[in-house]
């Protein structure tokens, strides 16, 4: 039999620890009522500006914290036929989205601006065609293609090419450089 003091102490510890797992609920939290759209979103078309370079104010994408929002972005990516030009991230008619080369910047705000404003040589503008929070969801998914989102948020099981390792992947084996020319490696 535990003495009373120890028992009280244990109960106290349990009470303090009980709400801790609640923190993990945030990842799957579904927000069906998006916040009212910002009437004057700050969209920069280019980072070129006269005078000294002002530090960019980074805009945080609200969708990047929620696994549900990113998977919605993935659904919309095919629904709205982004895959028509960018394919499953590998690119084709449009540039690839799963590599680290970003013509117009890789910050969430840059991706948002690309979708809303369009870009020269083919990217159409989706202003007023896609609702604001859906654009953020698509932007989050697009960034997840090149592995820029935390692993617990980005979709884990894709049917197509995946730039980051899938959930079930084992440790990758890289070829070891032996320092010898290729021809000398043969026995």
């Amino acid at each position: 039999m535990l003495d009373l003091k120890l028992r009280l102490y244990l109960i106290l510890v349990l009470l303090v620890c009980a709400p801790l797992p609640l923190a993990s609920c945030k990842r799957e939290q579904r927000q069906f009522e998006p916040p009212p759209p910002n009437p004057n979103p700050v969209i920069t078309m280019s980072q070129l500006r006269p005078g000294a370079q002002a530090p960019e104010a980074l805009i945080k994408n609200p969708a990047e914290d929620s696994a549900y929002a990113v998977s919605e972005g993935k659904r919309l990516y095919t629904s709205y036929n982004c895959s028509g030009c960018h394919f499953n991230g590998g690119g084709g008619i449009g540039p690839a989205l799963m590599d680290e080369k970003w013509i117009y910047g890789s910050e969430p705000a840059n991706v948002y601006a690309t979708i809303v404003e369009g870009r020269p040589n083919g990217m159409p503008s989706f202003r007023h065609k896609i609702s604001d929070n859906q654009v953020w969801e698509i932007a989050a998914y697009v960034r997840s293609l090149s592995g820029q989102l935390p692993k617990d948020v980005s979709p884990g099981r894709n049917d197509d090419m995946n730039v980051h390792k899938s959930e079930q992947a084992s440790e990758e084996k890289k070829p070891q450089a032996s320092g010898l020319p290729k021809s000398a490696e043969q026995p």
């Binding site: 759209p37 007023h128 065609k129 896609i130 609702s131 929070n133 859906q134």
Partner: protein
């Protein structure tokens, strides 16, 4: 005394109300024991067989239970509570026979059920191969039904949503598909359930012998708004069905006045066009329900609401209030644009 009578009257009234509600279930628009076609007939016969046999078994069990209690009490009153250590072989034999016959009876009843449900199952699907009347393709989406009337003549294939019209007395074949998760097509007054499985084509046929309105429901849990995924089947006399078919094949009506024209422009230049199609206009996306003849439908949002102007307005501006989690985003339109859009949508008869 008087209070007693009032409570008893209240109890009686409560019972009557409850009974009426339950009886409503029997004659309802969505009820397996109010069959309106051959398949549902098979199923309801099986249901009634099981009901009567189970009721009889229940009554028998209760009778034997009370007999046993009564016998036990009589025994306790006679003897001086001493347990019967050496029962006579006569009473032992009687009890043994009773248990054996009850076991045999139970087994026979279960085999009758087995045979009958096997025959009903065969009856539901056996004639499928010969039955080709109207062919309708139903695709389950989260959370609505896409309905396509297939026809040998490609020009008369059309798409609608959530409301299925069928001719009375004609076998109708349903090709069932799913676009995202497993759904299940169930119109209890007409036939049993059939699952819609992504990547697989399932087929079911049914026939309505009585004209009428029958409610169907998704019968496989499919996500957040599973409960709001219903459909209506309109069984109509063939002439009425054919005239409906002829109007549905047509492209959408052209806007009749300036307000409707403006409404069409709003539709084509806003987010609507990304998901919905209106035949005869550049809008041709098939992610959401086809709106070519929206005005001719009785309900919207998978039979969630009646198709009225006010409901349509609520749905277009903020459908997440009505059916949280559904795929339609809120639309922030100016009052003028919204009025024109609603005018246009309602004109699509």
């Amino acid at each position: 005394m008087d209070r007693d009578r009032t409570t008893r009257a209240l109890q009686l009234r409560g019972f009557l109300v409850l009974a009426t509600i339950m009886l409503n279930g029997c004659g309802g628009l969505q009820s397996a024991i109010n069959p309106a076609g051959p398949q549902a007939n098979h199923i309801s016969k099986l249901w009634w067989l099981m009901f009567y046999v189970s009721a009889a078994v229940f009554v028998l069990v209760m009778i034997f239970l009370f007999l046993a209690i009564a016998a036990g009490r009589r025994h306790a009153a006679l003897a001086d509570n001493a347990p019967e250590l050496m029962p006579s072989s006569e009473s032992e034999r009687k009890k043994h026979n009773l248990v054996v016959s009850a076991t045999v009876l139970t087994t026979v009843i279960l085999f009758i059920f087995l045979l009958e449900s096997f025959l009903v199952g065969r009856g539901l699907t056996a004639e499928l191969a010969h039955k080709q009347g109207v062919v309708i393709e139903v695709t389950g989406h989260q959370w609505w039904w896409e309905v396509r009337y297939l026809n040998v003549d490609a020009g008369s294939i059309f798409t609608t949503a959530n409301e299925i019209h069928i001719p009375v007395g004609v076998p109708v074949t349903f090709s069932l598909k799913a676009s995202d998760v497993v759904h299940s097509f169930w119109v209890p007054n007409l036939t049993g359930k059939k699952d819609l499985i992504p990547g697989k084509l399932s087929t079911i046929w049914l026939q309505a012998d009585r004209a009428g309105l029958y409610r169907g429901q998704c019968a496989e849990y499919c996500g957040y708004q599973h409960a709001h995924m219903a459909l209506w089947v309109f069984a109509e006399p063939p002439e009425q069905f054919n005239s409906w078919l002829q109007t549905q094949i047509q492209s959408a009506v052209q806007p009749a006045n300036d307000l409707q024209k403006h409404g069409q422009q709003v539709f084509l230049s806003s987010a609507c066009v990304m998901c919905h199609a209106i035949n005869g206009t550049p809008a041709g996306s098939n992610i959401g329900p086809n709106l070519t003849h929206l005005g001719s439908r009785n309900t919207i949002a998978a039979a969630t609401m009646e198709n009225t102007r006010d409901h349509l307005r609520q749905w277009v501006t903020d459908s997440q209030q009505i059916k949280p989690g559904n795929r339609m985003p809120p639309n922030n339109l100016s009052p003028d644009d919204l009025r024109a859009l609603l005018d246009y949508l309602q004109s699509l008869k």
